[in-house]
Protein backbone atom coordinates (compact mmCIF):
# COMPACT_ATOMS: atom_id res chain seq x y z
CA UNK A 1 0.00 0.00 0.00
CA UNK A 2 1.42 3.42 -0.99
CA UNK A 3 1.06 6.02 1.74
CA UNK A 4 2.05 9.69 1.89
CA UNK A 5 3.87 10.63 5.08
CA UNK A 6 4.34 14.27 6.21
CA UNK A 7 6.66 15.27 9.05
CA UNK A 8 6.67 18.42 11.17
CA UNK A 9 8.96 20.24 13.63
CA UNK A 10 11.74 18.05 15.09
CA UNK A 11 10.25 14.94 13.49
CA UNK A 12 10.94 16.52 10.10
CA UNK A 13 14.42 17.65 11.20
CA UNK A 14 15.29 14.09 12.23
CA UNK A 15 13.77 12.46 9.15
CA UNK A 16 15.61 14.90 6.89
CA UNK A 17 12.58 15.39 4.60
CA UNK A 18 9.21 17.15 4.93
CA UNK A 19 7.31 14.32 3.23
CA UNK A 20 7.78 11.06 1.36
CA UNK A 21 5.78 8.24 -0.21
CA UNK A 22 6.29 4.82 1.41
CA UNK A 23 5.22 1.36 0.28
CA UNK A 24 3.72 -0.09 3.44
CA UNK A 25 3.93 -3.84 4.26
CA UNK A 26 0.45 -5.39 4.41
CA UNK A 27 0.68 -6.15 8.14
CA UNK A 28 1.10 -2.49 9.20
CA UNK A 29 -2.51 -1.83 10.18
CA UNK A 30 -2.53 1.07 12.64
CA UNK A 31 -0.53 4.11 13.77
CA UNK A 32 1.34 2.24 16.49
CA UNK A 33 2.52 -0.36 13.97
CA UNK A 34 3.51 2.41 11.54
CA UNK A 35 5.72 4.11 14.15
CA UNK A 36 7.39 0.79 15.07
CA UNK A 37 8.01 0.06 11.39
CA UNK A 38 9.49 3.55 10.75
CA UNK A 39 11.71 3.29 13.86
CA UNK A 40 13.11 -0.03 12.60
CA UNK A 41 13.48 0.97 8.95
CA UNK A 42 16.63 3.15 9.13
CA UNK A 43 18.75 5.35 11.39
CA UNK A 44 16.77 8.57 10.89
CA UNK A 45 13.57 6.64 11.68
CA UNK A 46 15.16 5.26 14.86
CA UNK A 47 16.10 8.83 15.84
CA UNK A 48 12.66 10.31 15.13
CA UNK A 49 10.44 7.52 16.49
CA UNK A 50 12.43 5.99 19.36
CA UNK A 51 9.86 7.43 21.79
CA UNK A 52 6.46 6.89 20.15
CA UNK A 53 4.66 8.39 23.18
CA UNK A 54 6.13 11.75 22.10
CA UNK A 55 4.56 11.53 18.64
CA UNK A 56 1.13 12.79 17.60
CA UNK A 57 -0.55 11.93 14.31
CA UNK A 58 -3.24 13.06 11.92
CA UNK A 59 -4.78 10.86 9.23
CA UNK A 60 -6.04 12.80 6.23
CA UNK A 61 -6.25 15.98 8.26
CA UNK A 62 -7.87 14.57 11.39
CA UNK A 63 -5.99 14.08 14.69
CA UNK A 64 -6.01 10.39 15.65
CA UNK A 65 -4.97 8.25 18.62
CA UNK A 66 -2.28 5.50 18.36
CA UNK A 67 -4.78 2.71 17.68
CA UNK A 68 -6.30 4.42 14.63
CA UNK A 69 -6.40 2.08 11.57
CA UNK A 70 -4.54 3.05 8.41
CA UNK A 71 -7.02 1.42 6.00
CA UNK A 72 -7.98 3.89 3.27
CA UNK A 73 -5.56 6.54 4.62
CA UNK A 74 -4.02 8.72 1.92
CA UNK A 75 -1.78 10.90 4.11
CA UNK A 76 -0.44 10.46 7.63
CA UNK A 77 1.11 13.50 9.33
CA UNK A 78 3.53 12.76 12.19
CA UNK A 79 4.66 15.46 14.62
CA UNK A 80 5.50 16.32 18.24
CA UNK A 81 2.87 17.70 20.64
CA UNK A 82 1.86 21.17 19.43
CA UNK A 83 3.21 24.35 21.04
CA UNK A 84 1.29 27.27 19.54
CA UNK A 85 -0.36 30.18 21.28
Amino acid sequence: MALNLAYFAWVRDRMGVADEVVELPADIADLTALLTWLAGRDERGALAFAEPQRIRAAIDGVMMGPGAPLADAREVALFPPVTGG
Binding site: F8, A58, F79, V82, T83, G85
Partner: protein
Protein backbone atom coordinates in the same frame (compact mmCIF):
# COMPACT_ATOMS: atom_id res chain seq x y z
CA UNK B 1 -18.90 37.84 12.82
CA UNK B 2 -16.18 35.18 13.11
CA UNK B 3 -12.77 36.04 11.71
CA UNK B 4 -9.98 33.44 11.74
CA UNK B 5 -6.58 33.89 10.12
CA UNK B 6 -3.17 32.21 10.02
CA UNK B 7 -0.71 34.69 8.59
CA UNK B 8 3.03 35.27 8.14
CA UNK B 9 2.43 39.06 8.17
CA UNK B 10 2.58 41.09 11.38
CA UNK B 11 -0.73 41.20 13.28
CA UNK B 12 -2.13 44.76 13.23
CA UNK B 13 -3.77 44.74 16.66
CA UNK B 14 -5.34 48.20 16.35
CA UNK B 15 -6.88 47.43 12.97
CA UNK B 16 -8.22 44.10 14.23
CA UNK B 17 -9.80 45.80 17.25
CA UNK B 18 -11.46 48.36 14.95
CA UNK B 19 -12.78 45.65 12.64
CA UNK B 20 -14.03 43.53 15.53
CA UNK B 21 -15.62 46.41 17.43
CA UNK B 22 -17.65 47.72 14.51
CA UNK B 23 -20.68 46.19 16.21
CA UNK B 24 -20.22 48.11 19.48
CA UNK B 25 -20.58 45.01 21.65
CA UNK B 26 -21.50 45.21 25.34
CA UNK B 27 -18.46 43.28 26.55
CA UNK B 28 -15.20 42.52 24.76
CA UNK B 29 -12.33 40.46 26.14
CA UNK B 30 -8.97 40.10 24.45
CA UNK B 31 -5.77 38.17 24.79
CA UNK B 32 -2.51 39.12 23.11
CA UNK B 33 0.53 36.83 23.20
CA UNK B 34 3.92 38.28 22.28
CA UNK B 35 7.41 36.90 21.71
CA UNK B 36 9.44 37.25 24.89
CA UNK B 37 13.16 37.93 24.65
CA UNK B 38 14.05 35.58 27.53
CA UNK B 39 17.52 34.06 27.55
CA UNK B 40 18.87 36.03 24.58
CA UNK B 41 16.24 34.74 22.21
CA UNK B 42 16.74 36.31 18.77
CA UNK B 43 14.06 34.55 16.71
CA UNK B 44 10.89 32.61 17.32
CA UNK B 45 9.78 30.55 14.34
CA UNK B 46 6.21 29.22 14.21
CA UNK B 47 5.79 26.20 11.95
CA UNK B 48 2.29 25.27 10.80
CA UNK B 49 0.42 22.81 8.60
CA UNK B 50 -0.96 24.75 5.64
CA UNK B 51 -4.46 23.27 5.76
CA UNK B 52 -4.88 21.81 9.23
CA UNK B 53 -3.76 24.84 11.25
CA UNK B 54 -6.41 27.15 9.87
CA UNK B 55 -9.02 24.37 10.04
CA UNK B 56 -8.11 23.75 13.68
CA UNK B 57 -8.44 27.43 14.58
CA UNK B 58 -11.75 27.57 12.70
CA UNK B 59 -13.11 24.59 14.63
CA UNK B 60 -12.15 26.16 17.96
CA UNK B 61 -13.64 29.52 16.95
CA UNK B 62 -16.98 27.99 16.03
CA UNK B 63 -17.04 25.88 19.17
CA UNK B 64 -16.51 29.01 21.31
CA UNK B 65 -19.03 31.12 19.38
CA UNK B 66 -21.69 28.43 19.84
CA UNK B 67 -20.92 27.68 23.48
CA UNK B 68 -21.00 31.32 24.67
CA UNK B 69 -23.34 32.79 22.04
CA UNK B 70 -20.71 35.31 20.99
CA UNK B 71 -21.60 38.43 19.01
CA UNK B 72 -18.14 38.54 17.41
CA UNK B 73 -14.92 36.57 17.52
CA UNK B 74 -11.44 37.27 16.10
CA UNK B 75 -8.72 34.61 16.26
CA UNK B 76 -5.45 35.36 14.49
CA UNK B 77 -2.22 33.40 14.74
CA UNK B 78 1.00 34.49 13.16
CA UNK B 79 3.37 31.90 11.61
CA UNK B 80 6.96 32.03 10.33
CA UNK B 81 9.86 34.02 11.77
CA UNK B 82 9.24 36.56 14.56
CA UNK B 83 11.38 38.82 16.74
CA UNK B 84 11.01 39.61 20.47
CA UNK B 85 8.02 41.92 21.03
CA UNK B 86 6.12 40.69 17.97
CA UNK B 87 2.52 39.62 18.48
CA UNK B 88 2.12 35.85 18.05
CA UNK B 89 -1.57 35.50 18.69
CA UNK B 90 -4.63 37.72 19.11
CA UNK B 91 -7.94 36.56 20.55
CA UNK B 92 -10.90 38.94 20.69
CA UNK B 93 -14.30 37.78 21.92
CA UNK B 94 -17.44 39.89 22.37
CA UNK B 95 -20.84 39.18 23.83
CA UNK B 96 -23.64 41.22 25.42
CA UNK B 97 -22.37 40.37 28.95
CA UNK B 98 -18.90 39.90 30.39
CA UNK B 99 -18.97 36.26 31.44
CA UNK B 100 -19.20 34.85 27.90
CA UNK B 101 -16.54 37.14 26.46
CA UNK B 102 -14.05 36.39 29.25
CA UNK B 103 -14.65 32.64 29.25
CA UNK B 104 -14.42 32.35 25.45
CA UNK B 105 -11.16 34.27 25.41
CA UNK B 106 -9.59 31.99 28.02
CA UNK B 107 -10.98 28.83 26.38
CA UNK B 108 -9.50 29.80 23.02
CA UNK B 109 -6.01 30.58 24.27
CA UNK B 110 -5.96 27.41 26.39
CA UNK B 111 -7.19 25.11 23.65
CA UNK B 112 -5.15 26.52 20.80
CA UNK B 113 -2.04 25.62 22.78
CA UNK B 114 -2.98 21.92 22.68
CA UNK B 115 -5.35 21.42 19.74
CA UNK B 116 -3.94 23.40 16.82
CA UNK B 117 -1.03 22.31 14.59
CA UNK B 118 1.62 24.89 15.44
CA UNK B 119 5.16 24.36 16.63
CA UNK B 120 7.56 26.91 18.12
CA UNK B 121 11.30 26.86 17.37
CA UNK B 122 13.63 29.21 19.28
CA UNK B 123 16.95 30.60 18.06
CA UNK B 124 19.30 32.22 20.57
CA UNK B 125 22.12 34.75 20.30
CA UNK B 126 24.75 32.02 20.66
CA UNK B 127 23.34 30.20 17.61
CA UNK B 128 21.56 27.48 19.57
CA UNK B 129 18.27 26.32 17.99
CA UNK B 130 15.65 24.37 19.93
CA UNK B 131 12.05 23.26 19.43
CA UNK B 132 9.86 24.29 22.35
CA UNK B 133 8.59 21.34 24.40
CA UNK B 134 4.87 21.10 25.13
CA UNK B 135 4.14 21.79 28.81
CA UNK B 136 2.12 19.37 30.91
CA UNK B 137 0.32 22.33 32.51
CA UNK B 138 -1.07 23.33 29.13
CA UNK B 139 -2.78 19.94 28.80
CA UNK B 140 -4.28 20.36 32.26
CA UNK B 141 -5.60 23.86 31.49
CA UNK B 142 -7.02 22.74 28.13
CA UNK B 143 -8.72 19.70 29.68
CA UNK B 144 -10.73 21.84 32.15
CA UNK B 145 -13.02 22.92 29.32
CA UNK B 146 -14.26 19.36 28.76
CA UNK B 147 -15.66 19.08 32.27
Amino acid sequence: MIRVAVQPAAIDVGAEFDLHDAGGHGASASFIGRVRGDGDLTELFLEHHPAMTEAGLGDLAHAAADRWQLAALTLIHRVGAMAPGDTIVLVLASSPHRSGALAACEFLIDRLKTDVMLWKRETFADGRVAWVEARAGDEVRAERWNQ
